[in-house]
């Protein structure tokens, strides 16, 4: 079973993502509420993909993504960043941090599921 690490400081967003994935896919979900916790969980849980918010306390999504890329154990894990900011410069910063993809809030469920499937299908 594929494992996804969901990272967001909003409990509402985490709950919605978890409900969507558990209802419509067989992916296993684990969660973190900031970038630092995400980096730690990625090392111990080795998820197949990280779906991560950008604006978070303690460590933001850009920094967490850079940390994941610096660590041998986590550098190959696909990272999809999620944010309310859709400006090109912001997306560019996301890709510079090493993310594989970038989606904007509010999340479109079917589009996100397609994107996840494209990374997680064998």
């Amino acid at each position: 079973m594929k494992k996804i690490l969901l990272v967001d400081d909003s409990r509402t967003t985490l709950l919605m993502e978890r409900m969507m994935l558990e209802k419509r896919t067989s992916y296993q979900c684990i969660t973190a509420t900031n970038g630092l916790e995400a980096v730690e969980k990625a090392q111990t849980e080795t998820p197949d993909l990280v779906l991560m918010d950008v604006v978070m306390p303690q460590m933001n999504g850009f920094e967490a993504c850079k940390r994941l890329r610096e660590n041998e154990k986590t550098r190959e894990i696909p990272v999809i960043l999620v944010t309310t900011r859709g400006e090109e410069s912001y997306m560019e910063a996301g890709f510079q941090s090493g993310c594989n993809d970038y989606v904007t809030k509010p999340i479109n469920g079917p589009d996100l599921l397609k994107l996840l499937h494209s990374y997680l299908s064998e």
């Binding site: 909003s10 409990r11 509402t12 967003t13 709950l15 919605m16 409900m19 969507m20 209802k23 309310t84 859709g86 904007t104 809030k105 509010p106 999340i107 469920g109």
Partner: protein, 179 residues
């Protein structure tokens, strides 16, 4: 009802949409967990900004005579943009007080040249069989093009579930925050 706004008026459609939308399900669960007004305001903010796509909102309390609205909380608005009367006509106000969610035919967007005081929706917050409050949404995020049927279902959840934690302890004054 003036021409800029239309009542959502499709409760059945909203209920069907809600059943298939995890956003509404998550919103309902989170609002039912709220213990007080402060917590409820934060959850409403999370729902509206993260699940719907609007980071400008204000919450007004309706007085017991159902005549006046008083601002109790806002998010993303400068002080000068928290004044409701200029945005809410009598026709829309009576619709909202009657329990109808009113959605602008054309919503405003952040980053566009639209009037920054343009309201996108007025949502009645129901409690005790009345409209106890009104949630106003202003400009949507740039990537959010409209308020669709799934969004209406989400707003219906806020309308029916947020009243208890927001107004169940009327007069407490807890949770007031203006940003």
């Amino acid at each position: 009802m003036e021409s800029d706004f239309a009542p959502s008026g499709q409760e059945t459609v909203a209920a069907i949409e809600e059943a298939s939308d995890p956003r509404s399900e998550a919103a309902r669960k989170r609002l039912r967990e709220c213990e007080d007004r402060r917590n409820a305001c934060e959850v409403v903010r999370e729902i509206v900004s993260n699940l719907l796509g609007c980071e400008e909102m204000a919450l007004f309390e309706v007085d017991r005579k159902q005549q006046r609205l008083a601002l109790i909380w806002s998010f993303g608005l400068e002080p000068g943009r928290r004044q409701l009367p200029q945005r809410l006509s009598d026709a829309v106000l009576s619709g909202v007080l009657a329990g109808e969610t009113c959605i602008a035919q054309v919503c405003g967007h952040m980053g566009s040249e639209c009037d920054e005081d343009k309201a996108s929706a007025f949502v009645p917050i129901k409690f005790g069989g009345k409209t106890a409050g009104v949630l106003e949404l202003l400009r949507l995020l740039p990537q959010k093009t409209k308020i669709d049927e799934l969004d209406r279902a989400l707003l219906a959840v806020i309308s029916s579930e947020a009243g208890k934690p927001l107004f169940g302890g009327r007069g407490s004054g807890k949770g007031e925050r203006k940003r």
